[in-house]
């Protein structure tokens, strides 16, 4: 069970995440994007999901990552991500509810390069019963 006391709390990601041109090129090649000057709009999920995994699976929160399904996703992009960005990623647990035994957690991720907010995203993650 997810700890209900975690709702409303913001957790800072442990590490800074650097974006390289190679990271962008690799992502672009999968979707046949030839303009690699900026990252594609969904690129930031690569950073957010790994940060969610390390934050949400901590024992004090208790998400079972092996039973996780992605329910929905939203991005708000203040400027495109470029090579050389170094992000601090936070995760805020906004809501938690249980439906048919599944735990449904909605998490917000803010990616800051220094003091600049570059991308906010919202993910609904379903931990299946």
């Amino acid at each position: 069970m997810i700890n209900p006391d975690s709702v409303g709390r913001t957790f800072a990601g442990a590490d800074s995440v650097s974006v390289s041109q190679s990271d962008i090129d690799t992502f672009c090649s999968v979707i046949s994007e030839t303009n690699t000057t900026v990252a594609p709009p969904t690129f930031s999920i690569r950073i957010s999901l790994s940060q969610y995994e390390s934050i949400l699976t901590q024992p004090e929160i208790g998400v079972d990552w092996t039973r996780l399904v992605h329910g929905d996703q939203k991005f708000e992009i203040f400027r495109p991500i470029v090579a050389g960005d170094v992000f601090k990623c936070s995760a805020t647990i906004e809501t938690l509810r249980v439906a048919a035994g599944n735990e449904i957690v909605s998490v917000r991720s803010d990616l800051h390069n220094g003091s600049e907010l570059v991308v906010s995203s919202w993910s609904t993650l379903v931990v299946r019963a």
Partner: protein, 131 residues
């Protein structure tokens, strides 16, 4: 002339297991439901399924191709209503279309439709671009 109600040309992407492996590497999401058929079936799925975020990345490519490149997107959201099922040695379709749903200054909202094998895979899919 772009106006509310303008319908964008449909585009069909094709997904296969190689693309899923490439996306797993590019995204860092190595969940076995995206490459291991036996595992996928053991957890109640019909077969290997594509990452929802790969579907969203491809639909995003459709949006940015129309809008004029990957820097044009301000907002993008979708619900993963059904998986894209990717059997071995097959290419499956992801058929994407869109309609202009709102224009506010230089911001254009698109309502997006995405199906695979005739089944709707994204719900409430919407993007806001500057074009």
């Amino acid at each position: 002339m772009i106006e509310v109600g303008t319908v964008l040309d449909e585009h069909i992407f094709y997904l296969d297991r190689a693309m899923l492996r490439a996306y797993a590497d590019a995204s860092g999401d190595h969940n076995p439901i995206h490459h291991d058929e036996e595992f996928a079936i053991s957890v109640g799925l019909p077969n290997v399924i594509a990452h929802g975020m790969l579907t969203m990345a491809l639909v995003g490519k459709y949006v940015t191709d129309w809008a004029g490149g990957p820097a044009t997107v301000k907002e993008y959201s979708a619900r993963f209503v059904k998986p894209v099922i990717v059997p071995a040695d097959q290419k499956v379709d992801l058929t994407v279309s869109a309609i202009v749903s709102e224009i506010d200054g230089d911001h254009i909202s698109l309502t997006l439709s995405a199906t695979s094998a005739g089944v709707k895979v994204l719900g409430m899919a919407r993007a806001v671009v500057i074009k």
